[in-house]
Symmetry: C2
Subunit: 210 residues, 2 copies
């Protein structure tokens, strides 16, 4: 039985990359098409939007609750964006991984660097635009921000790209070819599941009476 040959602990797959890389769009497509992947739910202090459900879209916490959890070391990573806290609870990840299921997490670069320390065996995928020109065009098209804001976001994106060597895989997200990037991420997950260290070799040997 092949199932018994696979290690019981699931895989942590982290999709990250600078603002403008397309990581959120890629994750959205995977969420809609990959039945055998679990997706991490983030915690936030931002108030829920009308269509958002607690425990489905986010875990919604008050500032006080969030602070308590930070102090209790319950977060695998957390950060402040705008005026709100965002983070990933260790429990969210560990419960899924320990049940033998793989979990995918889409996250900013700073969060990924924090996660790498806690989960050195995780699979860290960096999504990157094909060029500086493409990155700039995407940041410009995205929002109606001032030139100063765009410059600032470009600088942040560039500083994020400098962390690329902390990742295991690089996926270029070419303009108007997102399906190609999605396919590469899909392949990385499929390939990692075939790695020899994912298998209990003793079980395979047993099946073949070795």
């Amino acid at each position: 039985m092949v199932l018994g040959m696979i290690k019981e602990h699931g895989l942590l797959i982290v999709i990250s990359g600078p603002s403008g890389s397309g990581k959120t769009s890629i994750t959205k497509i995977l969420r809609e098409t990959e039945a055998n992947l679990n997706f991490s739910i983030s915690a936030t202090t931002r108030p829920p939007r009308p269509d958002e459900l607690d425990g489905v879209d986010y875990y919604f916490f008050s500032e006080v609750e969030f602070q308590h959890k930070i102090e209790a070391g319950e977060f695998a990573e957390w950060a402040v964006y705008g005026s709100h806290h965002y983070g990933t609870l260790k429990k969210t990840l560990n419960d899924t991984l320990q049940s033998g299921k793989d979990i995918l997490l889409e996250i900013e670069v700073q969060g990924a660097i924090q996660l790498r320390k806690l989960y050195p065996d995780g699979i860290f995928i960096f999504i990157i635009p094909p060029s500086q020109a493409s990155l700039e065009a995407r940041l410009r098209n995205r929002r109606t921000e001032s030139e100063d804001d765009i410059r600032r976001r470009l600088l942040i994106a560039k500083s994020e790209i400098s962390y690329i060597n902390n990742y295991d895989y690089i996926v270029f997200n070419y303009d108007n070819q997102i399906e190609k990037a999605v396919e590469n991420v899909r392949c990385i997950i499929a390939a990692v599941r075939c790695r020899v260290n994912r298998y209990i070799l003793r079980q395979i040997q047993k099946e073949f009476n070795l």
Copy 2:
């Protein structure tokens, strides 16, 4: 330009596994469908069949020529099957790899073990039947051999499976689901091409003015 960001040296991809694993059928499908993969051509002392061309299907050598090349250390691996020599010339692999192209090699387990020593960075994929029962059924269906021959082939296949921990990836080839195995091999190749160590990070940083 993304092309300049990829390392100049190609990847060696080795598909191997016991007799009955389906490695030859899988490689045949890849050969027909993967345009951007090169396939290694073996050398042999077996005489060409009527439809076989020298330098296309095999490099055909006389016994004397083959022996000379063994002594000159020109083979990356070689072995005797039946009454003929088979092998892979180092030049075949290195010329392709140095031109920046990836090369796929389908090979018996003993040859793969020899190759691993010369090409530690190669990608070694082990194709395996899902069970002992399946392996046995495939060896039985395959040829009209005596029960003794089948027993012998089964023992060889099992001893080959004991080398599984020399490989990087394991691909189960389920009965009547060869396309699934092909897809996994395809994904492994796509994923390896996305590995961070395949990229010249300095070139990426240069593109983004870092």
